[in-house]
Assembly symmetry: C2
């Protein structure tokens, strides 16, 4: 089986930076999974003894705690800083930006709209920076707009860094038609765009498409959904073990892309395996 | 010939207000045409001796000068106030709003984009309020965006009150994809929307459509263009004298709409005439 990699794929700036930070603090622990990739988290544990805490109550005195790339809610950070622990912030700078925008805009009496997934840790963190939590609204699609009662007719809006720009624009357009002022912050990350555009192009020319990434990773799921638009035989896997030889029967060319949290060593294993078929 | 009026047409709030103001100042003069309708301007001259000045040099001591609904450039207003004349401001409040936005936003170091017609008096006035005239850009279509060098990556944008919202959104979307922050002020007037929506609906159900309004009126021209999309036999006239009986041959139902500067008495004359056919 011939394999072709997307022209852009895999680790983004924020993930590379967070891993480098974590590798610099042996015997530390991350607050929540550092990135959305279990294999890489396991590697950090094995190679650097970087552990994982899921609750503030896990923190012990003198611990070194690394804040995950997606950030954590404002009050959790505050509580963490009160403990007798060293806090290292590996929040992606592109996530810190919408956190600070939400803080500033709500202080200036704008109603806040976040385009994103309310359950995603990044969005939980960003939302927590609103001064008036009652007037910070999170939606995933334009249809949810009708149910929102904004406090003001001045709206500030940010997007989860990994969301589709087309859907963000749809939502923004609806806001503009109904409100006096809409302050639009384009917080969608360029890396996401680049990986998405490359996946779109590649999926048009191949017979089968393999998307490698965490199944709880927002940007990996988006890549998969984009590939499915052009190539019915698109599969999402976390690592080479999940490959099924049946996918490649009677196919000539296999395209490969990977989410922003997928390390190169996992991608290489997948490529090596597919090339054997 | 049967005639049907659009569910919304004619004079908007700002025009009604300006005429009322002008009627209250006999023997005054307007600075530029008060509204874009020659017939109504003639009526104000005949009934109230409200004259028309086109240049500041026309102003004589003790004159009462009425600022037109579209507003005038900031420096003209300043110069006018220095003269020994009484200044009455009939600028539509919906036009004063974008003037003040452009002033404030350029003071706060936003680059300014105005969606509108650079040659239109309203736009000339709004543009004049930018602190840095080099960084206030006026465009009529999305294709012109490529030629603009904004000074900042924070853009504030307003629209001429009578422009199409769909085109404004297209431009805004392109801005959002290329800039960190876009501050969108929806300054398109509701009255324009309402007349446009009603014209669109009516033009779908009639055999011939007559749009009444000034041929230099931006919103009247838009109404005409919207009607043409649904009804090939759509005609733009300023008054009943311009009607051509040939337009109504073998037609059953004639739709009527009118621009925001068209007085009811002109509309009534047109309706009366068409009903005779």
């Amino acid at each position: 089986m011939k394999v072709k990699l997307a022209s852009s794929y895999g680790f983004c700036f924020g993930v590379k930076r967070a891993i480098k930070i974590a590798e610099g603090y042996e015997d530390s622990a991350t607050m929540g999974p550092l990135i959305h990739n279990q294999n890489e988290i396991d590697r950090l544990k094995t190679d650097y003894n970087v552990g994982l805490y899921n609750n503030l109550t896990d923190v012990k005195p003198k611990d070194t705690i690394i804040i995950r790339t997606h950030g954590i809610p404002k009050n959790d950070l505050k509580d963490l800083r009160k403990k007798d622990a060293k806090v290292i912030n590996a929040t992606c700078p592109f996530v810190t930006t919408p956190q600070q925008i939400v803080k500033k805009m709500s202080q200036e009496n704008y109603s806040i709209l976040i385009f994103g997934d309310e359950a995603h840790p990044e969005v939980k963190g960003v939302k927590s920076y609103g001064e008036d939590q009652e007037d910070v609204h999170v939606i995933l699609s334009i249809s949810e707009l009708d149910n929102i009662n904004f406090k003001y007719d001045k709206i500030a809006t940010v997007a989860q860094t990994t969301k589709k720009k087309e859907t963000y624009l749809e939502i923004v357009n609806a806001l503009i038609l109904k409100n006096k002022e809409v302050r639009v912050f384009n917080t969608i990350c360029d890396a996401t765009f680049e990986n998405q555009d490359a996946a779109r192009e590649l999926s048009k020319e191949v017979d089968v498409m393999v998307v490698i990434g965490g199944k709880n990773s927002s940007n990996t799921k988006q890549l998969h959904s984009i590939c499915l638009e052009n190539c019915q035989d698109s599969y999402l896997i976390e690592n080479a073990k999940e490959l099924d030889p049946n996918w490649f029967k009677n196919k000539n060319l296999c395209g490969i892309t990977a989410g922003a949290s997928t390390p190169d060593w996992i991608i290489q294993q997948v490529v090596d395996e597919i090339e054997k078929y």
